[in-house]
Subunit: 341 residues, 2 copies
């Protein structure tokens, strides 16, 4: 590999002049500058970013930690993050941690030793050790799709899961639904507990205090959704609607209903959360709360950029709006003859 010394020697000038020419410093004459550029071309010289990073204490790489790239929620996020960071010369290093605490810590440790310039993270487990690790970080951090935990003061970009769940329930109730089941995410996760809380509070605000049996903890996958729907159907056979805490659960539920010849929405309505591509399939047509993933990804990248440019200012968190996407999985009971069990 040819280095800067080689091109300096080739031109018979000093290393520092070559460096200044390449970095467009003002104090280098136009003629030598073009000479340098030509020599660089001719010798096929590529600056070594590692050496540059060492001396500048800036690597132009940022870390992006997510629970699971295989979860269809994340690729769009990742894409938006990379898109907006790459135009500023940053490269992003993904880490898919499978929600394992060990891997998450591993990723942070790596970010430190590799001198990343910033971090966008969606941590899943936030025990004390993790919080300590993050709070000891020298680089800017933004939390994505979860609020900043107690004890840290990084900004976050999140949707308001609580209000979104509330809006979903409102949508169902105003369409005449009263017996509404809930298929939950793991409740030890933040998003899971927030959406559950939105369901609970809104139901009781309408005087529809749900019995505990109408809530089942589902998990995150389609299979979980199926199993949860089966359990729900056993325990509360007279539900008119089901609210699933994400689209995968909703689709699992719809699959179970389809297999048992229970028509959606005629016999039971289903509401989802996320608006994945699946949701718009002709067979599914799921009404769901959309999380604006591109927007979230973009905004997290932009606030990180701002923080890296000026580490002084305290950056601002943002709560973006979820949006109700109406399709055909919910029946309006008020517009129906009546006489349903």
């Amino acid at each position: 590999m040819t280095n800067i010394k080689d091109v300096a020697k080739y031109l018979g000038i000093s290393v520092s002049t070559v460096s200044r020419a390449l970095n467009h410093y003002p104090d280098v004459s136009p003629t030598t500058k073009t000479q340098v550029m030509d020599a660089v071309q001719y010798l096929n010289y590529r600056p070594n970013a590692v050496a540059k990073g060492l001396i500048q204490k800036k690597t132009f790489t940022i870390g992006f930690m997510i629970p699971d790239i295989t979860d269809p929620f994340f690729p769009a996020l990742a894409n938006a993050v990379e898109e907006t960071l790459s135009v500023h010369g940053y490269q992003v290093v993904y880490g898919s941690t499978n929600r394992e605490s060990e891997k998450e810590k591993q990723f942070i440790a790596n970010a430190i030793s590799r001198q990343f310039d910033g971090l966008i993270i969606t941590p899943d487990v936030l025990d004390d050790e993790m919080i300590a690790l993050i709070s000891g970080l020298q680089m800017p951090v933004v939390f994505l799709r979860r609020r900043t935990p107690q004890g840290l003061n990084a900004p976050y970009i999140d949707v308001d899961h609580y209000h979104a769940a509330s809006a979903a329930i409102r949508h169902l109730v105003t369409r005449g639904h009263q017996r509404i089941g809930f298929i939950s995410l793991p409740v030890n996760s933040i998003t899971g507990s927030e959406r559950l809380r939105g369901y609970m509070d809104t139901m009781s605000a309408y005087g529809l205090m749900p019995e505990p049996v109408s809530i089942v903890e589902g998990g995150r996958t389609i299979d979980h959704g199926r199993a949860a729907m089966e359990k729900l159907n056993q325990r509360c056979p007279n539900l008119t609607a089901v609210f699933a805490a994400n689209d995968l659960l909703a689709i699992g539920a719809m699959e179970w209903l389809h297999m048992h010849h229970i028509a959606v929405p005629d016999q039971i309505s289903v509401m989802g959360f996320d608006n994945l591509e699946y949701a718009s399939f002709q067979w599914i047509q799921l009404t769901t709360m959309e999380q604006p993933r591109e927007e979230m990804g973009r905004k997290s990248a932009l606030t990180l950029l701002k923080m890296m440019k000026d580490p002084k200012q305290s950056p601002v968190s943002e709560l973006v709006e979820a949006k109700l996407i109406e399709r055909k999985s919910i029946l309006n009971l008020n517009a129906v003859p009546a006489g349903r069990s």
Copy 2:
């Protein structure tokens, strides 16, 4: 940030001893070694991987270039690659290029200046400039999900698209289908042209030379599949089966059929390619050729690992088998009363 000089000063020993202790060199006494370890803990010292990379000429990062992380085909690949590389201490840098030539070149250039140790790439456009760029590379490269282009001698990991397409057609023909339409990927892509070739050759081997009108170039998305199915239906209303070159196209086709009340498989059979998660949905149940994505990801990572360990040996390419996943989207005409148009 505390560096190795700090811990040396703290212990009153030399920098080199600390370094040797940390890297488990034999010539450091047990007592100083434990002292060093304790000091490292106490001072919260983290080795600077950038400096290490500079002197060792090894960064323990590999680049993984894919066309589009948003395409549901790739996350599983990416996951497998990262999984098997991370256990060897490598970190992987993704690049989602949106199939833009400019971004692909950008990624390679970045890989050079950042001194990556190796590359796993799924390039989409391979013009002369790209080939020159790659052939000038100092680091090992493996091609994934495409064969190595002429003029390069890197290994590849791919499925045999041609034979897989051939097997798909054989499956249809042995079930009595003769008029089989084809929805193609963009034919200027390698995978697209290979699958098309498999279709063509196999059809004519059975004496079923397809008319040009029964082939329509679809694209890559569900919307393309819909449009293609509509076109196909106009041009060849008497098809008994359609082979779509990937599952997204197949699902788009099935959507169009569903919207027009044409039953699958009773009125027309559909065969896909990829076996995405979608394909197993209850409403879809698509028979399709599975590409073993985890296996491909793992294998590409393993051969890269081998090449990095011993750059001498010429590594071996692999063609993995696609596997027919039988579901319910194909009707066996031989087991049916007869009398179909």
